[in-house]
Symmetry: C2
Subunit: 229 residues, 2 copies
């Protein structure tokens, strides 16, 4: 790419968003801007991982937006309920919208990304949503992403230029890990566990850990995750 | 209405949202929940007005959400540029997207309302946007509101039940004032000025004051606004 084409990447610090960042760089977007959200998560390890990933040389600026989703209640991720452990995939999907769902989270995240996009005039936003491995979150579905993009184009100066890139949306966890490994992502830097210990070591038993472990196995890639003893 | 039908009203403290609150009550929605945003406005008078309006007996809960839009820059309302004064309506509309536009503001506000709506299971949200008197804001247009509603239904558990009510969208300022006056709104409690003095008295010269003044004149309703000497 000759002309600089900036992009904003929603960077949670997890495996998916780290891969998204690598894909945006590989596709030639530059400079890159990353955005993380401090939304009253139970633990800070995700935010620390995001900051480390953003220390990548291709990132011009990393912003942490503090938003208080905890005041709305209603999710295990913000401390209102226990994180489920050792469920198999049929249990995860049979449960419908998971207890770890945070109300309207991706809508709020994309709204903030849109605001920053408009100020930077950077109408390309990357989000690491995935509809395959874990389809219980309604705000990870392709039709939601398309509908939000349409609303965003109507509600801003972009008038059609705003584009949400969701390059992982149809990939399995194993495919994501293989793609990221090709692009040099250090997954040891990423954090996925819903319930880590105080050192940031993963529990190995929550839905997120189980899907991640299985992803590395299926991909045939060594799992660099540090688990509790 | 026999069954309680709760609604959330985005309440800025201005004339429009105060009228919206009265319309929601008149339409039989109950209980009512109101939501204001502290987004780094230049002044606090709007938030004080919102809290006073929410002291209305029909409001079960008033929430003030602190969000930092100022860090994105780009608007006279958050202190980055001078508020324009004494423009006529042709100047206001000729200027395109006005300097008082805050990037993606209504998208962010509606995203938070959606989160609260999902937690309360209260899928009716009222917003006082208006496309007639001042059409320079892209996020006040009916097609944006419809597109956001569609995205919200896809991205949450509501699956079609979420509805954004924008009862003022096709009304002139004078029609809004007449409707609110019929419903008993005390417009002396509302705040519209972009550049008030420290006591909260309106400047009388910014776009918002000029449109408001003209609205009272056209409606034939005495203007209760307190202006600077």
């Amino acid at each position: 790419m000759i002309t600089p084409t900036p992009a904003i990447i929603l960077l949670s610090g997890g495996l998916d968003s780290a891969t998204c960042l690598a894909i945006a760089r590989d596709q030639g977007f530059a400079p890159l801007y990353t955005m993380a959200f401090d939304y009253g998560q139970r633990h800070r390890h995700e935010l620390i991982a995001a900051a480390q990933l953003a220390a990548d040389g291709a990132v011009r600026e990393h912003r942490v937006i503090r938003i208080d989703l905890r005041q709305f209640g209603g999710s295990a991720l913000t401390g209102d309920a226990a994180v489920p452990k050792d469920r198999d995939e049929s249990q995860m999907s049979a449960a419908g919208v998971p207890i770890t769902y945070v109300p309207a989270r991706n809508t709020i995240f994309l709204a903030y990304a849109l605001a920053w996009a408009e100020v930077l005039d950077a109408p390309n936003v990357f989000i690491g949503v995935n509809a395959i491995d874990y389809s219980g979150y309604p705000d990870c579905r392709p039709d939601f992403i398309e509908a939000f993009q349409r609303a965003a184009n109507l509600g801003t100066k972009f008038a059609g230029r705003f584009k949400i890139h969701a390059p992982l949306i149809h990939l399995t966890k194993a495919q994501i890990i293989r793609r990221g490994t090709e692009l040099g992502v250090d997954y040891g830097q990423t954090h996925s566990c819903y319930d880590p210990d105080e050192t940031g070591a993963a529990c190995g038993h929550c839905d997120s850990c189980l899907l991640r472990k299985k992803g590395f196995e299926d991909a045939g890639v060594p799992d660099p995750t540090r688990y509790h003893a």
